[in-house]
């Protein structure tokens, strides 16, 4: 058997598994983590079982410090109540925990982002006669407004990484460094974007999006070809650290039937 701390080799893990591992690594021990269903839930469960056993996972429906053992399909899924500290409601989670400034990291998805990390999950096309009406904010705007830092998890496509959003559902850094402060927002805004091609963070001065790491086997050129906005590319872009065998083993035990993270072949 392999050394659990060793990195897996290409072909031993899937891109979704790598993304979940990137998400998990963004969670520090003891942090309060706000996640929805899907890949971020799996990432949070992985973090909690590995390097962040004191992390508290909060789901907006009202589950606080959840210790679910089964994968949930809905944000309000009964599965999330298992051995939680409390089961209350939206005002508790989105209002008191999140808006009250007690959430360290929040995970959200995006249909579109721009180069300041502003997010669209509402309309594709024109507001008056849109091509597609997406699900809307849900708690997304609340999370991005108030969590201390935000991790965006999304598919990397040119049409999703745009210069101008069709509609701004959730506030990234708005127009730049003072954007959030001037708007009256409390949280720190987007800190990390995890895609199927790379990880991106934000330039401290301009608050514009910046390539951080490229996933194994992905070139900077591939990232740029699939990006619609101007991406800051540092001189040296390291490779994303692949999953360790330990990470993969726990990840696969968290979602054993591959509901959100289908098993790599």
């Amino acid at each position: 058997m392999q050394n659990l701390k060793e990195h897996a080799k290409p072909g031993e893990y899937s891109t979704l598994e790598l993304m979940a591992v990137c998400g998990a690594r963004a969670i520090k021990n003891g942090e309060v983590v706000f996640v929805g269903t899907g890949l971020p839930m799996v990432a949070a469960m992985l973090a909690k079982r590995l390097h962040a056993p004191k992390a508290k996972i909060v789901y907006e429906a009202g589950f606080i410090d959840s210790n679910a053992i089964d994968i949930a399909l809905s944000i309000a899924d009964s599965r999330l109540e298992y051995r939680s500290s409390a089961a209350i409601g939206l005002i508790e989670t989105l209002g008191i925990l999140l808006q009250g400034g007690r959430v360290d990291v929040g995970f959200v998805g995006a249909a579109q982002i721009d180069e300041y990390g502003n997010i669209n999950t509402t309309y594709i096309g024109d507001f008056e006669s849109p091509k597609v009406r997406l699900p809307g904010s849900g708690g997304g705007n609340d999370i991005v407004s108030s969590a201390k830092r935000i991790v965006i998890v999304m598919k990397h496509e040119k049409r999703k990484t745009v210069k101008k959003l069709d509609y701004m559902t959730s506030p990234g850094h708005l127009g730049g460094p003072d954007g959030r402060k001037n708007a009256g927002l409390k949280g720190g805004g987007p800190a990390l974007v995890v895609t199927n091609l790379c990880q991106m963070d934000f330039d401290e001065k301009t608050k514009r999006i910046r390539l951080k790491t490229v996933h194994p086997g992905i070139s900077v050129e591939t990232v740029l070809e699939n990006t619609g906005f101007n991406l800051i590319v540092p001189e040296h872009v390291p490779e994303t650290e692949p999953p360790t065998y330990e990470e993969l083993e726990i990840l696969r035990s968290v979602d054993p039937t591959g509901i959100y993270i289908p098993r790599s072949t």
């Binding site: 907006e60 089964d70 009964s78 989105l94 701004m168």
Partner: protein, 302 residues
């Protein structure tokens, strides 16, 4: 020594009859948890029209209401068939112009219900600031106002409170005078049930008043807020009720696939809603065996 107990029980059919066309409804449940599915079906059966629905987020329950042209306006934060895809009927009804949606966030909607419950005309919120949720609206002239806080100078958004004509909530259990318990998360139902001018509580089971009054700490919605009580077992099927039953993903996926086309939706509606006489006939159509498979196991609650 004890006061007289009022009997507020009526049937599902009677409850739905109380709702006139054009009424404004708070719609309870959150995500897959405790949506008033049976009430949605009966609204369709009775051919209600032009309702406005206020909710944080819902799923096939409100998709059915849009599909059957019961609802013309939503004020909400989220709709989809979670984990599966976009809500197929609402998509079509938005495209054909028969449904309009005014967008808020989940916290904004929950606070609008709390504000309505508290009897104040607005609530302050630190979300939505700086985004199109403030600047763009579909049909609401005063959707949200941004002010400067008179104490700190910071920007604060104010959202208008909601006092809908009826609040519709599905709970775990209730006594005949309307004292309701909810197991598990409450979503926005505590606030929503307190915001309605009239509140109709549907419940998996009716319990004796004795049971409620032996545990006053467990009452989530006290009788004073409740106008009518409806006994409605399996009333959230094919969605879930904590400690009672799990969702039926097979049925939900079938719904999603079939409703991708208008013809498929019409077929679903005829087969499961308008073509059955009432909630009990719907349950019989689903079948006892299928229902029993979904029953919650202890101590998991699902």
């Amino acid at each position: 020594m004890e006061g007289e107990v009022e009997d507020k029980r009526i049937t599902l059919e009677e409850a739905v009859k109380l709702v006139p066309d054009g009424a404004h409804l708070f719609w309870g449940g959150f995500g897959f948890q405790r949506p008033p599915m049976a009430f949605a079906h009966e609204l369709v059966r009775q051919g209600k029209r032009n309702l406005t629905i206020y909710t944080c987020g819902s799923e096939i329950d409100i998709d059915i209401l849009a599909g059957a042209r019961v609802v013309s306006k939503f004020e909400l934060a989220f709709f989809a068939i979670e984990g599966i895809g976009l809500a197929p009927n609402i998509q079509r009804r938005i495209r054909d112009g028969s449904v309009q949606i005014e967008d808020y966030t989940n916290l904004a909607m929950a606070l609008r219900f709390l504000g309505g419950a508290l009897g104040v005309p607005f609530m302050p919120i630190k979300s939505m600031l700086g985004t199109d949720l403030v600047t763009r609206s579909k049909f609401k002239p005063n959707k949200v106002k941004v002010i400067e806080c008179p104490f700190t100078g910071e920007k604060v958004a104010l959202v208008p409170s909601v006092n809908p004509d009826f609040s519709i909530v599905h709970v775990s259990r209730v006594d005949r005078e309307g004292n309701a318990q909810i197991d598990g998360i409450k979503g926005e139902d505590s606030e929503g049930a307190r915001a309605g001018k009239k509140t109709i509580v549907l419940a998996e089971e009716i319990v004796d008043t004795e049971f409620i009054r032996s545990n006053p700490d467990l009452t989530v919605i006290p009788n004073i807020y409740v106008t009518y009580v409806v006994e409605c077992p399996w009333g959230s099927y094919p969605m879930m009720v904590y400690n009672y039953y799990d969702y039926d993903m097979e049925h939900i996926r079938m719904y999603y696939q079939q409703c991708k086309t208008e013809e498929g939706w019409q077929k679903y509606c005829e087969e499961y809603i308008t073509g059955v006489e009432n909630h009990m006939e719907f349950l019989k159509k689903i079948g006892l065996e299928r229902l029993l498979k979904l029953k919650a196991r202890k101590p998991l609650g699902y």
